[in-house]
Amino acid sequence: MEAIYQYAWLVPVLPLIGAMIVGIGLISFNKFTNSLRQVWSIFIVSIMGMTMTLAFAIFWSQYTGHPPYTQIIEWASAGDFRLNMGYTIDHLSALMLVVVTTVAFLVMIYTDGYMAHDPSYVRFYAYLSLFSSSMLGLVISPNLVQVYIFWELVGMCSYLLIGFWYGRKPAADACQKAFVTNRVGDFGLLLGMLGLFWCTRSFDFAVIGERLENLVESGALSGAVAALFAILVFLGPVAKSAQFPLHVWLPDAMEGPTPISALIHAATMVAAGVFLVARMFPVFENIPAAMNVIAWTGCFTAFLGASIAITQNDIKKGLAYSTMSQLGYMVMGLGVGAYTAGLFHLMTHAYFKAMLFLGSGSVIHGMEGVVGHDPAYAQDMRLMGGLRKYMPITAITFLIGTLAISGIPPFAGFWSKDEILGKTFEANPAMWLVGWLTAGITAFYMFRMYFSTFEGKFRGEDVSVKETIRIERLQAQGFSMGPGAMNSQELAVADEAHDDHDHSHGHHSHEPHESPLSMTFPLMALAVPSILIGLVGTPFANYFEEFIHAPGEVVPPLGAEVDLPEFLTMGGSSIGIALIGITLASLMYLRHKVNPAAIAEKIPVLYNLSKNKWYIDDIYNAVFVNGSRRLARQVLEVDSKVVDGLVNLAGFVTVFTGETLKYFENGRAQFYALIVFAAVLGLVIFSGVTG
């Protein structure tokens, strides 16, 4: 078994090599490389397959009880400072390896169908492979610096992939927003990392935790400072895992192609934040203040995301807010000390949310045949409906995902979410209440999504809905107009602007079609874990907890007595509220007994708050974006007017005096020498006298 560990570094390196070969090919022999489309995709997918096999082998070896393995080399040094890099394989990283490689593998297969007609098909595979490499490197990092390195690299891949269709303006804005928002988080992570290094002289997770505890206990370091460092580090996960207040980038990131929304912005990269909190658990768990901040951040984010998801019409945006909300659950779980539960939810969520996103991609792919290649139309649920008839596989898998996320047993999401809620109730009932209500909202908006997409009758040809969407978009672009006073010219301009970036293979039909096998196969494959994977972590036989638990935590043995009444109350209450949510959704969107628009009109304040994402984007835009622009302009003004102005003034004076000097006819060189000599003399004498 030892050999697997010696070659475990191949896990991130293999996809990197794949990405590099394709990347160099694209730069050097662009036309030729692009013409070999499927050759490259098979190459990249098979490399990912090899990586996945290796990951499973590692996982199996860890599961059968191999001790953790760490391999490090000296990376940078100066004086007595040493910085090591390497890889570490333990239970947590083995689990993450399996999750990441399986999702990445399936997403890569799916990509072949989804991107089949895209001219940048090969480039997309190169990016996917590069991302997988960075993500795999992240999960096997042995210390904080290496995590930071890969943390930034996955951020860069996310930037490249969000901006993949760079001809679209929203994509261009979104990728920059994602990178900069994440840099704000990284800023905190960097400061926290430096602070922790300053007081513990180590970047190693376990060592930091231990020394920090000693320092705080001995009084050498005040608890408040330790908490400050911990919270600064936590800023990194806040940005990466889209927690309030740095969540704003995630919904916009949906501008990227759907496969990466599934891989990066649902299953893996956004979970990296949760992973880091888990890795830093030895540090955080000794600092109650930090744990509280983490838990409440997660709790609020869970609610915030769900409350916004209710009113979204864009299917991907809805799923994005739901991801944010689910990540909030995980963070809350870790914050209340439920290490196992948080990571369990990470795993189940990775599978069912990846499936949901891929399902939404399949829907969009089908819709594009009817409404054209415009994300505003192809992703709007108001134009969908009745799709179950046309795309049955997508519909069934989407339903499975919806049931899983809503927390209906025996689907995966029930077990993990219930475990988080149970642990939260023990820690803080108020927090539990928020989480519990959010579970109801989750069931409601997910079924709203399912019903309006797959049930009812198809609305794709509905001209009036299209018109509404068009006006909404124009208003968002800043054309102020009422529906009655449309200036056709402006409309033409705006329409032209997006027609340009249709990378069209447009054949318009009247009915959406089911996606090809390359897209439906990953959906079916992901449906299996979405249904079953929760069973590894039931309270009755918690194999998951036995494998993954916080360092130093004592785990009850398998088959230990389960507190059945407690399980039934907790589980029952979450199922209950989920059912209420589902019923409400079916009344509104399936049977149309209740008109949602009428409810919205009755509570305009709440409706607008949700619809406008709590106005957070607008506030950030006004304060930070415009604020920094204004500040920058002012600084430049000072630079060019004041600083440079003085210089030019001085120059003018010199030239002027230079002109007058000519009249002395004593030659400049001599004068220059004289001044130099006098000054030197003066200096030496001066310092001789005073020194």
């Binding site: 730069i27 050097s28 662009n30 940078a76 040094s77 100066a78 004086g79 007595d80 400072f81 610096v145 930071y148 390195i149 890969f150 930034e152 860069m156 930037y159 901006g163 760079y166 001809g167 679209r168 303006k169 994509a171 261009a172 990178f179 900069v180 840099r183 704000v184 990284d186 800023f187 960097l190 400061l191 430096l194 602070g195 290094f197 300053w198 007081c199 513990t200 002289r201 020394r211 000693n214 050498a220 920094s628 622009r629 500040l631 920058a632 302009r633 600084v635 430049l636 630079d639 600083v643 440079d644 120059g651 010199t654 000054a679 030197v680 200096l683 030496v684 310092s687 005073t690 020194g691």
Partner: protein
Amino acid sequence: MLTANFPWLTTSILLPIAASLAIPFLPDKDGKTVRWYALIVGLIDFALIVYAFCNFYDFSSAEMQLRESYTWIPQLDLKWSVGADGLSMPLILLTGFITTLATLAAWPVTWKPRLFYFLMLAMYGGQIAVFAVQDMLLFFLAWELELIPVYLLLAIWGGKKRQYAATKFILYTAGGSLFILLSSLAMAFYGDTISFDMQTLAEKAYPLKLQLWLYTGFLIAYAIKLPIIPFHTWLPDAHGEATAPVHMLLAGILLKMGGYALIRMNVEMLPDAHATVAPVLVILGVVNIIYAALTSFAQRNLKRKIAYSSISHMGFVILGIVSFTDLGMSGAVLQMVSHGLIGASLFFLVGATYDRTHTLMLDEMGGVGQKMKKIFAMWTICSMASLALPGMSGFVAELMVFVGFATSDAYALPFRVLVVFLAAVGVILTPIYLLSNLREIFYGPENKELAEHQVLVDAEPREIYIISALLVPIIGIGLYPKLLTQIYDAKTMQLTARLRNSLNELTAERKEPEAIALLKSAEVLTAPSLN
């Protein structure tokens, strides 16, 4: 003949200069022979430098090596003496590398090619001389001589405001170098012996007051070159008007002369003054990082934007120099080399973009990524390198400076916290201006007006080659920084040890109870042993 006694450095300085003198006599009709000639001379010289360092330089020693000394004017004690140590060796290598690539980058220059390549080769020798000479007077001469080619390159091949920019450049730098002369003369005449030899000068014991005067003199000159705000305003003008190859030299090498001389003279020769003045420099460094990042963000002219970004990155060099830690000092040298490579690549790309769009105003660009995919890709990679993406050299350098400064015990804790915090703000600002720059040039729907009037061809192999050549060391250092750091860190450690000595003396002398108490409290906090 090819032994350790062979005058390697003198040859590497004089070879390009001698070769440049032959250019007027070359049979050449359309300027094509000259550029090959210049390129080959550049390559030979670079190979010579690499060969000499590989075979006759001991990387584990902090001493001055490959020394040569010939009496030039005995009356003045002026000697032609050159040598290399851990401080100058990486920069000499950088010079050879960047200048050779800049010659290749100058391929499309058709206006007065003979004069152009003559100046480029003269620059080559002049730049190496600045880093290699070990005599103060000679240093001053080399410093001044290297200005003339730059001035001419700016004034003849520059943009529309080239006269203004070139004049500003020469006035500024020549004005600054006056202070070098002043300080060197004062150092030479101080004490019993008159000597211009750098090592002799470094060993003299100057009283603190004189040190401070000398320090200020040098600092003004090097603050202009590096540049340190508020002595920076020549730089956006000079950079804004220069052509791409000159640009690569300005950003890649000339700025590093400031950093190099700052370490060589201010830090190495006047350590006591450095220990006293350091807090001021810390503040200047932080101001550099933030102020320049903000001005860069507001700039609408591409060249000036990237020029300001250079200033911002130089702030990290200053912070490293004043950190009084091995790591920080090592990071400062690394940042100089790293920025040399990254800055050169970015400026080359600016030139390549301008060749196609014929505008530098961001407002007139947009959406050119559709036609120029490879240039877009290279821009993205180099911007990522510049915003300190891990895996590239900039990240390692900045990280080393950050860790070095954060763990430095030379400053009181609150001061350090504030500085690290502000420097980290720069980490947020850098991607803001670099990525919005990328967005404004390449992203978005195609700019029809630009596409109609200009031929937006994609990168040619020569351009891809130049960028790849620059990326190899950028990524190599990023992946395994010891590649570079281990060849010079004997020197930086020796430097830091000397500095710390001065620092300790200073704190002991002053006997400021406050400072000591703060230092002690910091020590308590840093107390846990390394094991």
